[in-house]
């Protein structure tokens, strides 16, 4: 099991005087699904953005499959080409069709021939039941459909790691299910996933491990069911009591 895809060692990140990450140590093993939980402002999104170098790191190291990606000699674009990212508000490109959204990175970054990329893209869209929408534009899709397209866009180039940043937070409740089902099937197919989430039930159900962030530090981590049902730290208990209260 000791095959870490992502490893953060003592990662610090500050915006001006505000230290958002204050010494994060975190490991994600291959085929593992890790959920980040914590109040807003605890650093979940920043952590995800440092992991694909969309945010600078003020100290510490991040390893992607053993390579130190915080080394200033490393090409950030090449690192990001190996990681799939899904954002809270989908961030589909409105000027491209659904299929072009899905195939853009394969064609432009990975230099696959258009025909090959599109065949793969259509297969992926078919697998989420959106084959008929391939030539539609994103703004004609529902939020849940858009977010599923965004997930497919992220996995279209077979990334080593998937980063999911609160991907259900902008969705209507009745659309959350279809997106979470897709994440479940990704886990079943062996994807390595690090996700920030507010959905505790989902974290318990899908994540292998849950990491509780508090004020930029990992306060507690453990197997999902264990941590969510019997947290050790008072802060974790307090947080869970607040989000699980009806």
């Amino acid at each position: 099991m000791a095959d870490p895809v992502l490893e953060l060692r003592d990662v610090w990140c500050a915006f001006g005087d505000h230290e958002v990450l204050r010494g994060i140590d975190l490991t994600v093993q291959r085929h593992e699904v890790v959920a980040l939980i914590g109040a807003s402002g605890s650093g979940k999104s920043t952590l995800l953005r440092t992991a694909n170098l969309l945010e600078h790191v003020d100290d510490g190291q991040i390893f992607l499959s053993g390579q130190d990606i915080t080394d200033p000699r490393v090409d950030g674009d090449a690192v990001r080409a190996r990681i799939g990212t899904v954002f809270q508000s989908y961030n589909l490109f409105p000027h491209l069709s659904v299929l072009d959204n899905v195939t853009l990175a394969a064609r432009v970054v990975h230099r696959r021939p258009r025909a090959e990329a599109e065949e793969h893209g259509r297969q992926l869209l078919a697998s989420i039941g959106l084959a008929a929408k391939a030539d539609a534009y994103p703004d004609t899709l529902s939020g849940g459909q858009q977010q599923r397209v965004a997930i497919v866009r992220a996995i279209a180039t077979d990334p080593e790691l998937l980063l999911l940043d609160e991907i259900t937070s902008a969705l209507d409740p009745e659309l959350v299910g279809e997106v979470l089902d897709l994440v479940r099937s990704l886990k079943a197919s062996g994807s390595t996933i690090l996700m920030a989430t507010h959905e505790m039930a989902f974290a318990r159900d899908v994540a292998d491990r849950v990491v509780f962030l508090d004020a930029g530090r990992v306060l507690e981590e453990g197997p999902a069911r264990e941590l969510l049902s019997s947290p050790r730290e008072p802060r974790t208990r307090e947080f869970l009591a607040r989000v699980l209260a009806p």
């Binding site: 500050a14 230290e19 600078h56 003020d58 510490g60 190291q61």
Partner: protein, 320 residues
């Protein structure tokens, strides 16, 4: 690359961060050298200091490379210029230091007129353009004539060459003998305001339309009228969006101010022309041109700085 925080400067933590149960001990996980003390900022590790030193070195290297390539480029340009067959004559009649010194005071005096015209014209343009842009956003059949007039205005003055507007305004309107005799600079200013307001009003309109409709809905949802919505919610956001474009138009106007010389106003260009015809030497034009560039540089730098700041704020510290 984002500039790293100055190492070693102790600063207090943000509110609510430095105390309470949110600061557990970092249970000795093997990175002991980076431990933060209770009150100071995080002290960077040796590794991070190495990385900063490396980036700094990279920075020095790129400065050195850019200096070297600039030097090579400048040398090539100078060599090519000096080896052109007509260079001695051109150097004599365009870059004559004595002629430059002689004409400088008069050209500078002329530039002062340009600066004054520019100041008045830019205020005029801002006001007129805002009025026109607002007229064009009015809805409802009652306002059709105003809307149409504003549209016709922008069509006309964006299409017509500035120099023709200058002639028409500068020689035509005084010919009506409706107004008392005014200075040529006055009519020049008016022509500039007319032409540039047409451009700037379109910039404003683009900014107004770029404010997301949800902002308008939110304002109307609070009960604000169309006018209140424009003034309190839409225009402030639109202004922020179009400021770089406006500054760019300002720079363009800064040099077009020199065209008022065609009406006979003794500005920097006209002064240079007088000096040129007196000594059959074109150096005063070069002097005037350089002075205009010097005048524009601060605004150009300011525009760049402001756009960069705007972009930085929208990206919230992201590095791509």
């Amino acid at each position: 690359m984002t500039a790293p925080a100055t190492p070693g400067v102790p600063e207090p933590h943000g509110a609510g961060e430095g105390s309470g149960p949110g600061r557990p001990g970092r249970d000795g996980a093997g990175h002991g050298e980076t431990g933060a003390s209770g009150t100071g900022r995080h002290r960077p590790s040796a590794l991070e200091l190495d990385r900063r030193a490396f980036r700094k070195k990279q920075g020095y290297r790129s400065v050195a490379v850019s200096m070297a390539s600039t030097l090579v480029f400048a040398t090539v340009v100078v060599l090519v210029l000096r080896n052109t067959p007509g260079w001695p004559r051109v150097a004599d009649s365009f870059f004559d230091l004595e002629a430059a010194r002689r004409s400088f005071p008069l050209v500078l005096q002329g530039l002062w007129l340009n600066v004054r015209v520019l100041a008045v014209a830019s205020v005029g343009v801002l006001l007129l353009a805002l009025v026109i842009a607002t007229l064009r956003t009015l809805r409802g059949p009652l306002f059709f004539p105003l809307r149409a007039l504003a549209a016709a205005y922008t069509d006309l003055f964006r299409g017509m060459p500035l120099i023709i507007v200058l002639y028409l305004v500068g020689f035509g309107i005084p010919g009506l003998r409706l107004f008392p005799r005014m200075d040529a600079a006055f009519w020049g200013t008016l022509a500039l305001v007319l032409v540039y307001s047409a451009y700037v009003s379109e910039v404003f309109r683009a900014g107004i339309e770029a404010v997301h409709p949800s902002q308008r809905l939110a304002a109307r949802g609070l009960g604000l009228s169309h006018g209140q919505t424009m003034r309190r919610v839409v225009l402030p956001q639109a202004m922020r969006k179009v400021t770089p474009a406006l500054m760019n138009d300002f720079v363009a106007m800064q040099k077009d101010v020199g065209l008022i010389s065609v009406l006979g106003a003794v500005d920097a260009v006209r002064a240079a022309q007088i000096e040129t015809s007196r000594y059959y030497d074109f150096t005063p034009y070069v002097v005037a041109g350089l002075l205009f560039v010097l005048l524009a540089l601060p605004v150009i730098r300011l525009t760049d700085w402001y756009s960069a700041r705007l972009r930085a704020r929208e990206q919230m510290g992201s590095v791509v």
